[in-house]
């Protein structure tokens, strides 16, 4: 890292696209919590995740981008929609979507965003990575996960497995307590 910092002006096409994608991601994320229609909230979440995936693509991280679409857009939000539709999915506006914790949530959200932004700016203001096409393909990513970062990866896998088994045990009614 720490290459000579390039000039900010004039911005390159990639920078403009990246910025626009960021605006879309944040804007649709705001719409997720402000929209009055339950199903539309989930759909704005799709737009937000899609814009994130676009951001990954601009940063040449192809594999991560498509996995983002596959997992977050294609599985997680669909499951959310599924849950909404099995329980309550009115067409049109709902009156009672506001939570009583609105103000507290707003404060926590703004504070978290402030902490993250200030940490990133303080830590990585002058850090630059040259983007090489192909660096985000499956091979470099796989070798870095399974060589350099294999321990955190395995720890995470075990954590997820434990969560999975816990969910099964909690949801099954035919397993009695001892």
């Amino acid at each position: 890292m720490n290459f000579a910092s390039p000039a900010f002006w004039p911005p390159t096409t990639q920078e403009i696209v990246f910025l626009l994608l960021g605006v879309i991601a944040v804007g649709s994320a705001v719409l997720v919590v402000t929209t009055r229609q339950l199903v539309h909230a989930a759909l704005w979440l799709v737009v937000s995740f899609g814009a994130l995936a676009g951001g990954y693509l601009v940063l040449t991280a192809e594999f991560v981008a498509w996995v983002q679409i596959l997992i977050y857009v294609g599985a997680i939000v669909v499951l959310l929609l599924f849950g909404i539709m099995l329980t309550r999915a009115p067409i049109g506006r709902s009156a009672d979507l506001d939570s009583g914790n609105q103000i507290a949530a707003l404060v926590v959200g703004v504070a978290t965003a402030g902490v993250l932004v200030s940490v990133l700016v303080a830590g990585f203001r002058h850090a630059y990575m040259p983007l090489t096409p192909g660096a985000g393909a499956a091979k470099p990513l796989g070798s870095s996960i399974f060589r350099t970062w294999v321990l955190p990866f395995e720890a995470l896998s075990v954590l997820l497995l434990a969560a999975l088994i816990g969910a099964i045990v909690l949801s099954r009614t035919d397993i009695r307590g001892r």
Binding site: V39, L43, V46, E62, F63, W66, V67, I69, L70, V73, G74, A75, V78, L79, L81, F82, M85, L86, A89, I91, G92, G134, A137, A138, K139, D174
Partner: protein, 439 residues
């Protein structure tokens, strides 16, 4: 032989030509695919099928399309208008995009420009198809929800659950191919199926078949099942089980271009999974064995023909399955997807990975680890088996006890019970009963 480096150098107009050709090909394929399917299935069922519009009824789909375009475009009241309009588009656009990475042939000279017969390729091309398939799910679920009808929403939910479950099994069935090919790019996977290599047993050298459909036959069989499930085709066409759900998620898209779009998306998806099966398992555009002896078979424009023939055969398989099999029940469908296909796939991937590792190096280490894993898995299995057995016995005993108490006093169970020893159980019929045909 195209590789990843051949892509991304096309002038814009070549890319536009390729995109338009693929689009037109798919639209025509849908029009005549529908005709082929109706005609084939009719012949399989001893009927004539469409034979009025044009020679052999060839223009039937064109007539249907015209009719749909000219019909009144109904919008049911109370629907979510935007999503109701957008859902068919969400369904159809990803299906077309998926076809951009299907390789049709080698590098050819097109108007003086050297270019591969494939719109584009990525290092992670197969992942793009999976991602597009998962985007298409939104079209189904939103069409079901936005049309505000219980049939539609139930069909949409069913379809979503089915497509998501079968997508997992489908993705897993690709893993063995990736392990063998060492790449996720479609053009390189086709290139890897050019020569099979050899298997050395002692001094004996056996040439291996080159298609992954033969080398990795469990993956291929699982893929065939998942491709039927992924495209909501018979025997997995639960989402439009007309006996229960009228027409499933597109019930309210009565008869208009929106319905035509949904139909088109369905058939394009069939062509996408067929094209993918050809690319990943059936040797891609490369000529099959007897033809491949001819040197010119895999050069120039000939591969287009081989690809098309393979596509027709795979599509014919879809039709054949539709004519031959009844629809499965929903719980059977889910049980097959989650309890059979996914575990089988995982075991098979483990085996393939082990064999790949054995061939590379550190054979003994891998072998010991595999043995430990297998023994551990067996131990876990037997533990749960005995626990399950105990539970089953306890349950059976409970039921037996219930029977014994209820035999003496049937009403104790809380339900009204008719007398269990009526005369007609013993062959004594009352004279009022009229036998059929006696008049």
């Amino acid at each position: 032989m195209p590789s990843l480096n051949d892509f991304g150098h096309d002038p814009l107009w070549i890319s536009i030509i390729k995109a338009v050709v693929i689009f037109v090909f798919l639209v025509l394929a849908v029009l005549f695919g529908v005709w082929t399917e109706r005609k084939l299935i009719s012949r399989m069922q001893h009927r004539y099928g469409p034979n009025r519009a044009g020679k052999f009824g060839l223009l039937q789909s064109v007539a249907d399309g015209l009719k749909m375009g000219l019909k009144e475009d109904l919008t049911p009241s109370g629907v979510d208008k935007v999503l109701y309009l957008v859902a068919p588009l969400i369904l159809v656009v990803p299906a077309f995009i998926s076809y951009s990475i299907i390789p049709f042939g080698p590098v050819v000279s097109m108007f003086g420009v050297k270019t591969p017969l494939q719109l584009t390729d990525l290092p992670v091309a197969v992942l793009l198809v999976l991602a597009m398939a998962s985007l298409g799910v939104y079209g189904i679920v939103l069409a079901g929800w936005a049309s505000r009808s219980p049939y539609a929403i139930l069909g949409g939910l069913r379809s979503t659950a089915q497509v998501i479950s079968y997508e997992i099994a489908m993705g897993l069935s690709f893993v063995a191919v990736f392990l063998y090919a060492g790449t996720l790019s479609t053009s390189e996977i086709v290139a890897k199926q050019a020569g099979g290599g050899t298997l050395d047993i002692g001094s004996l050298t056996i040439p291996m078949p080159s298609w992954y459909a033969i080398q990795l036959i469990p993956s291929f069989l699982i893929y065939v099942l998942t491709m039927l499930g992924e495209t909501n085709r018979v025997p997995f066409d639960l989402p439009e089980g007309e006996g229960e759900l009228v027409a499933g998620f597109h019930t309210e898209y009565s008869s208009s271009l929106k319905f035509a779009l949904i139909m088109m998306a369905e058939y394009v998806n069939v062509f996408v999974v067929s094209g993918l099966s050809i690319t990943l398992f059936l040797g891609g555009w490369r000529a099959p064995w007897p033809i491949s002896l001819w040197d010119g078979a895999n050069h120039g424009w000939w591969p287009l023909l081989w690809f098309f023939i393979k596509l027709v055969i795979v599509f014919g398989f879809f039709v054949w399955v539709r004519a031959a099999l009844p629809r499965v029940r929903y719980d059977q469908l889910m049980a097959l997807g989650w309890k059979v296909l996914i575990p089988l796939n995982l075991v098979w991937i483990l085996l393939v990975a082990t064999f790949r590792a054995l061939r590379v190096d550190k054979g003994p280490v891998v072998f010991t680890m595999l043995a430990i894993i297998v023994i551990g898995a067996l131990a876990v299995y037997f533990y749960f088996d005995t626990a399950n057995q105990r539970r089953r016995e306890a349950r059976a005993q409970e039921i037996q006890q219930d029977f014994e108490t209820l035999a003496d006093a049937p009403a104790l169970g809380g339900f009204p019970v008719p007398p269990l020893d009526l005369p007609h159980y013993h062959g004594v019929h009352s004279s009022k009963e009229v036998t059929s045909g006696s008049n």
